[in-house]
């Protein structure tokens, strides 16, 4: 699969909540880092769990890719937007049924047609604002 196509297929699977097809785009030992969640591990374990939690928290999730390019060294970049309404806790943030609209970016490393690493960049304060969290030391407290 071409590098651009593998990124498109991966993000399409993430958008659909289909971790099996997402992992099919990745090498067995691929890594994942979601910087704002301080989440780091394997795509097959932590990555699959991240996709599952994302869709459980935001069952009407929409992930739109706004810009995608693949540069030298097999590095792919996607700028995307996440939209959805919270229906369950998300990494410690309690559900207040708020709507999110979150611009973010993915950086992929691709080798031999498979994703071998990805890092996700978003601003957690943007997410907190949209989910009505007021303080970083009281993420799970709303009163």
């Amino acid at each position: 699969m071409m590098d651009r196509s593998v990124v498109e297929a991966f993000l399409g699977a993430v958008a659909a909540g289909d971790s099996k097809n997402a992992l099919a785009c990745a090498a067995e030992n691929a890594t994942l880092e979601v910087l704002p969640l301080r989440l780091k591990g394997s795509l097959s374990k932590e990555g699959a769990d991240f996709i599952e939690r994302l869709h459980r928290a935001f069952p009407d999730l929409r992930l739109k890719v706004r810009r995608l390019f693949v540069g030298d060294g097999g590095v792919g970049i996607a700028e995307a937007n996440l939209e959805g309404t919270q229906a369950a806790p998300f990494y410690g943030i309690i559900n207040q049924e708020k709507h999110i609209d979150l611009d973010h970016a993915w950086r992929f490393e691709i080798a031999q047609g498979k994703i071998v690493g990805c890092r996700v960049f978003w601003c957690q304060n943007m997410l907190y604002r949209r989910l009505a969290v007021k303080r970083l030391d009281k993420v799970t407290i709303t009163a």
Binding site: F69, C123, Q124, N125, M126, R135
Partner: protein, 152 residues
């Protein structure tokens, strides 16, 4: 690597060199007069509106960089990686660090230092000038490092 991608990498490196020297005029000179600026996490929620870090390099961008350097006089950066394509896009992983000496926006000065990963996305036009800058980082991490617990 295609020649266009090599040129884009060279310009991206020059941009972060100028930023490291705190040469805001030098940063702006590497950009087209009408270059777009979009710092995605830079948003402030006021009572009736949201103020975003979006506009032109010569307006919002220049002001933002100047105020950041003013608040963090030892502001520096370390380029981790730059990748570019033949459509003249570049993605730059850059760590930005500095010690706070003045309030910056809603972040009250506690004299603390931060070191934060950023992802910059640049586009360079055929005249060799940056015509689009976007950046992503995690302000929650930034605020925590500087001792601020307020989301806004």
């Amino acid at each position: 690597m295609p020649a266009a991608a090599m040129e884009v990498k060279r310009i991206a490196e020059a941009f972060f060199d100028a930023y490291r020297r705190q040469d805001v005029e030098g940063m702006v000179e590497l950009c087209d007069d009408n270059a777009d600026f979009r710092y995605v996490p830079a948003e402030a929620w006021a009572k009736q509106r949201v103020v975003r870090g979006k506009g032109k390099v010569r307006g919002v961008g220049k002001t933002y960089w100047t105020e950041l350097i003013n608040a963090f006089p030892d502001l520096t950066n370390r380029v981790v990686s730059i990748t570019a394509d033949d459509e003249r896009n570049a993605a730059c992983e850059v760590n930005i660090a500095g010690t706070q000496q003045k309030d910056f926006g809603t972040i009250r000065c506690a004299g603390r230092r931060y070191d934060l990963p950023h992802l910059f996305l640049l586009h360079v036009n055929k005249d060799g000038l940056i015509d689009d800058i976007a950046a992503y980082w995690d302000s929650a991490d930034w605020f925590r490092q500087l001792g601020s617990a307020e989301v806004d």
